[in-house]
């Protein structure tokens, strides 16, 4: 069983969907194979979402909003524990609600947007902690929601991730020209008749779905790394939004798989390894390609 930190909560997940086995050695091998396949699938599914949506987050400079939605979604995780439904599923409506709240509060309440984000960011976390403390017993994989654990992604989560990916891809394909118009110049888009604010809210909802997808991989606290770093690295290689999306899917997948492998190799937490790999690649890319010389 790889990953010492992972094994602390792995058994709870493993026994839940126990494989039929005849002897202990086989079990370890099969398990290892099974969850590694799941982890790889999760890495690829997460990469698709954060590659596409991360590009919007970076070019529209709403990284702080992404962070706010991610942290607020922890409230949904806590609520899931409390009412006894799958925390990741419960995080979906919760993070969408916080995305809409961030989008609306800043406009309606004449509050500075970053103030609104900061408040919702902290409120979501506070709600999550409150719900968890109200839940009887110990929350065994709480830590994995905060910091991610790609090795414990259950098969049921993979289908949720796939569904979210499909939703994100379909919406972005349908609204590509509108999203480009509002991210480049929201005011001008409004003037030419694009319902800019409504579409901005749709974009925030897509960020919320991406956050949910990434929770299993890197956790709510580290989500912001996968939302920004792959897009920021790919920005150095292209001036085209579509190419930037494809490249950042590739980078996100590479970071996740490399981080996963390193965490297996050195027995370190997977979420933090993925984020560290991403950060190091970003630093290297900003050193080798300053001056935009590699763009095509």
């Amino acid at each position: 069983m790889p990953g010492g930190t992972d094994s602390a909560w792995y058994p709870a997940q493993g026994t839940e969907r126990a494989l039929t086995y005849t002897d202990a050695t086989d079990m370890i091998e099969i398990l290892q194979y099974g969850f590694m396949v799941n982890a790889l699938a999760a890495a690829l599914l997460a990469a698709v979402a954060c590659g596409i949506i991360g590009v919007y987050v970076v070019v529209k400079r709403i990284v702080f909003i992404g962070g706010g939605i991610a942290h607020a979604s922890f409230g949904g995780i806590g609520l899931g524990y409390f009412i006894g439904i799958e925390p990741v599923l419960c995080a979906i409506p919760f993070s969408i609600a916080s995305a809409l709240a961030i989008g609306e509060v800043s406009r309606r309440a004449k509050l500075a947007e970053d103030t609104a984000i900061g408040i919702i960011w902290a409120m979501g976390m506070a709600l999550g902690i409150m719900f968890i403390s109200l839940t009887p017993g110990y929350a065994p994989d709480l830590f994995s929601y905060l910091f991610g654990n790609i090795l414990t992604v259950p098969r049921s989560d993979l289908s949720v991730m796939l569904l979210l990916d499909v939703i994100i891809i379909v919406v972005v394909c349908l609204l590509y020209k509108e999203f480009l118009a509002i991210t480049f110049d929201e005011e001008f888009a409004t003037v030419v008749g694009v319902p800019a604010h409504k579409l901005y809210l749709v974009l925030l909802c897509l960020i919320a779905l991406t956050v949910v997808l990434l929770i299993r991989v890197v956790g709510v606290i580290l989500v912001i790394a996968l939302l920004t770093i792959p897009a920021a690295v790919s920005r150095r290689f292209t001036n085209d939004l579509k190419k930037m999306m494809l490249l950042s899917i590739f980078f996100a997948a590479s970071f996740a798989i490399t981080g996963l492998y390193l965490s297996y190799l050195f027995d370190l937490p997977s979420g933090s390894m993925i984020v560290l790999v991403s950060g190091i690649v970003f630093l290297l890319s900003s050193m080798i390609s300053s001056g935009h010389s590699f763009k095509y």
Partner: protein
């Protein structure tokens, strides 16, 4: 001037931000084929005036009529060229894609049509920027970028063009070309241009208004020295550019 010819009509418009008036009792009428320059000091409400016309700012009092209807309904028919200094030059977008956003509101869902692309190309050709269509927007000079933003406004097939400080940060000799472009455009649409540069504007436009919270406008190119002093709140020396360019009445 009959009322049917009126493209933009403001009647007794007041705009206040937090109780402080930015526009006071502004009335203005822009007609087809007008080329109006609005001058005034920074913070005098020039951009706010354009945003009122575009329906982006709702006046606290007064009436705004654009092309015979509500600004929010009619603004699709206005070509808007905002202050270019407000853009993120690092945004990963090509010149062609910027111009195409002028067509983004024509149809929801799906990509641009061939018709959209033809119009965008035509608009780029009009401002002589077609050879730059694949260039990233940040890799253009200030003057070139300004042309692209005009092309973007033209791609929407507007009936009136609103320009917000279009000449800021552009070299003198490029400014001349820029005003020549406006000369060509004014044959097809009304143009309203705001600027804080009195001299440059006064040479090229057909009519001038002065704005510093209050608007001074006589539906002509003439302003009294009293208008200018009231606008800038200090005596401003104006150079008379011979009879064709005279801004001040002989005094």
């Amino acid at each position: 001037m009959d009322i049917n010819n009126e493209i933009i009509g403001l009647r007794n418009v007041w705009v206040c931000y937090g109780g402080v008036p930015v526009l006071e009792d502004v009335s203005l009428s822009v007609h087809r084929h007008d080329f109006l320059g609005i001058i005034g000091p920074n913070g005098g409400g020039k951009t706010t005036l354009l945003k009122v016309v575009l329906g982006l700012v709702k006046p606290n009092r007064g009436e705004v009529v654009v092309l015979g209807g509500e600004p929010v309904e009619q603004r699709k028919r206005i070509g808007y060229v905002p202050q270019h200094s407000l853009f993120d030059p690092d945004f990963p977008i090509s010149v062609m894609d910027v111009v195409l956003t002028g067509r983004a509101g024509k149809r929801v869902f799906g990509g641009y049509t061939n018709h959209d692309r033809e119009l965008a190309q035509g608009a780029l050709a009009m401002v002589e920027m077609l050879p730059f269509k694949d260039r990233q927007i940040g890799r253009l000079s200030g003057g070139e970028r300004q042309r692209v933003f005009i092309a973007r406004a033209l791609a929407a097939e507007p009936e009136v063009l609103l320009l917000d400080e279009p000449a800021t940060g552009i070299d003198m000799h490029i400014q001349t070309e820029f005003y020549e472009l406006l000369e060509r455009l004014k044959k097809e649409m009304a143009i309203v241009m705001i600027s804080h540069d009195i001299t440059a504007v006064s040479i090229h436009v057909d009519k001038i208004a002065c704005l510093n919270r209050r608007l001074f406008y006589h539906d002509s190119k003439e302003l009294t020295s009293g208008d200018i002093e009231a606008t800038y709140q200090c005596p401003v020396e104006l150079i008379a550019h011979g009879i064709p360019h005279r801004v001040l009445r002989e005094h």
